[in-house]
Amino acid sequence: MAFIFLGIKTNSFDFKDFTIYAASAPVQVTIGLFICFFIGFSIKAGFFPFHTWLPYAHPAAPSHVSGVMSGVIIKIGIYGILRMILVIKTDYVVIGYSILFIYVIYGVYGFMLAILQHNLKKLLAYHSIENIGIIGIGIGIGCIGIGTGKDILIILGFAGALLHTLNHSLFKSLLFYGAGNVYQATHTMNIEQLGGLTKRMPHTSLLFLISALAICGLPPFNGFISEFLIYSGMFAGLQQLDLFLLTALVFSMFALVLIGGLALMCFTKAYGAVFLGTPRIAEKHIPEEAGWGKLLPMYSILILMVSIGIFPNLFMEIVAVPVGLFSVSTTLTTSIVPLYETLIHISYGALIFLVLVAILYFIRTLILSKNEFITGPTWGCGYIAPTIKMQYTASSFIRAYRKLAEPILSIHKKKKEISGIFPTGGRQETHPYDQAEELMIDYPIGQFKHFLNKFAFLQNGNPKFYILYGVTFILLVLAFPSILNIIISILNFLNQ
């Protein structure tokens, strides 16, 4: 709709003409245009509240397609939004605040749902929603920077958003490929039925671990660099004296840290329940490691991720070019130099950490080789009959969190209580469901269906009625112009 509007107004579909038009149009028109574009691209990118297709599409698609879909296709929606920000010159401060506000809620909400999922791919799909929330926070800060004319906000906000787009495509694709390997080996995506896959699939386990670390934003990987840039943007924004901006930034900083903490919980659950411990359901066949055809692309993504994490300056050069398009002044190259220095320190930190780990591991192995070590069963505080069922399941891992989040989300729980002096058994099932989806899509569609059901008598399966409908329609179509003519002549007669 927005494109049609602009096309009519400027008589062309060229972006340059759009820019010239938008510069002269009144603010309400441009904001309205931006909202239309935004909604359009949001549905593509999977933003709240249009995100409901994501968790259904990702698990249904085959894994390599899911990887590309999550990694690349969603980003096209973000590319569209960024492009539109450049094209439509409007009141950026308002847009910046609204984007920031929407994405803060969106990121935290996406995460709150992601933690509760049982299906591994659905968990990753909801997590994509949350990462797009982080990208949106970066874009919001950048937009506020454009609106208020502060160069440092623009650089950090957009650089963080763009770098996080790249990073997210890398590690989310890797996670989906890993999940695909798991599915092909075990034929189930239910976390509660998996477990102990590290021993059988060591390569997949290592790749999944490193991409889980990267997606939580932990150093020395690339997720930390992009989150660091967004944090730096927020702190640079804190130096301004605008109270509204300060409040917004403090809340978004709190939300971003909360997202970091939730990420820790989510991915320890995902990695721990799938790969570690013992298998929770007796395996029908032994899962095998994926072949080299599947592992080779995963390793190449891994090398790229680690190199962004340890040498971010190289990638900042690439990111600086699009960021330069957004800035209002021409002093971009001088303002970005302190950023490079900070990133060099992070590189040093990452390298020191890796060297330190190597040294400590060497010392440990040295001491370990002097003493003997034996293998035994896991210590169960002296319990003499351990079973697989004693292991912590994924649902129990997040139970404390679920109790906190229960009022906000809608969780269907079936529970059979243990009763009697000699209890026979208990049972509990929890199924998380999307509250927003319930409110915004299920409820209106339910009402609509209810309304349409009143006309169900029309479809009664009797061919005579259908012939009647057909004949009535043809008569109406033929008779309508003549009836119209009669009405017009009567009106003319009455007017005279």
Binding site: G196, L218, Y392, Y401
Partner: protein
């Protein structure tokens, strides 16, 4: 570099002092002050038992845990000098480095496939989810006050500003001690003495580690207590750059406070 050495020296007897004070306050004689050090040396001489359920994660996790806390100590400034790693926004690096250590601790606990470790891991994930934003808002508010984003710059500005920064320091100490109680498994959040599953977070996650791994984890736990106090001192002291005396001065208040918590 000096701060690293001094924090390790302080960690040797800090926990010993706390335990000794606790014991004397309950009417017992208690272990010696250097018992912690003797424990670590004893564990290094012992062999290990590894569970058959565990994998490579269990082997590398204690090392990464300790390395993350060493990196975090390198960020903390020392008196008037910068830490070895100091840049704008370094406290983000600080928090996320500690989060890396926690991640590995949690998955090494899940690796054993036991219900005890799973319980501890679940609680640790939940509590660190709450503790991280608290620390961030604390340092973020100081960053807002002083206009800098590096630990070193923030503390230098605090030291040279007016006396009201001492009052803010007291408030910050209050928050930092609450966070420290969560991170270091102190009462009333966690009980370092019992090994019952109802009262534990950190102690239960390491139930299966033995030998050198347990020694590494003990070194980590003690260093963590020390650097939190080091941060605490940074809010107040301007003229005494020697960390050793700082932490020595504060152990008294720490013991009194931990005594109040324990009873």
């Amino acid at each position: 570099m000096l701060s690293l050495i001094l924090i390790f020296l302080a960690s040797l007897f800090f926990t010993g002092v706390i335990n000794r004070t606790k014991s004397i306050a309950s009417g017992r004689k208690g272990p010696g002050i250097f018992q912690g050090l003797k424990d670590i040396i004893r564990l290094c001489k012992k062999g290990s038992v590894f569970s058959g359920t565990t994998s490579f994660i269990f082997q590398i996790a204690p090392v990464i845990y300790l390395a993350s806390v060493i990196m975090a100590i390198l960020v903390v400034p020392f008196g008037e000098l910068k830490g070895m790693i100091s840049f704008d926004g370094d406290f983000v690096f600080f928090v996320y480095m500690l989060a890396l250590g926690k991640f590995f601790n949690i998955i090494s606990a899940l690796d054993t496939g036991s219900s005890f470790q799973g319980m501890g891991a679940s609680r640790e994930a939940l509590f660190s989810m709450f503790a991280e934003p608290a620390f961030f808002i604390l340092i973020g508010s100081f960053s807002l006050l002083t206009g800098h984003t590096s630990f070193h710059d923030i503390f230098i500005s605090l030291h040279f500003s007016s006396s009201i920064s001492y009052i803010l320091g007291i408030l910050a100490t209050f928050v930092l001690i609450m966070i420290a109680m969560i991170e270091n498994s102190r009462m009333p959040i966690d009980d370092p003495k019992t090994h019952l599953e109802l009262t534990m977070i950190h102690e239960v996650m390491i139930l299966d580690n033995s030998g050198i791994d347990l020694a590494i984890i003990f070194v980590h736990n003690r260093s963590k207590i020390c650097y939190v106090w080091c941060l605490n001192c940074k809010f107040f002291y301007r003229y005494i750059p020697i960390l050793y005396f700082n932490s020595y001065f504060f152990w008294g208040t720490n013991n009194i406070r931990s005594y109040c918590r324990f009873t």
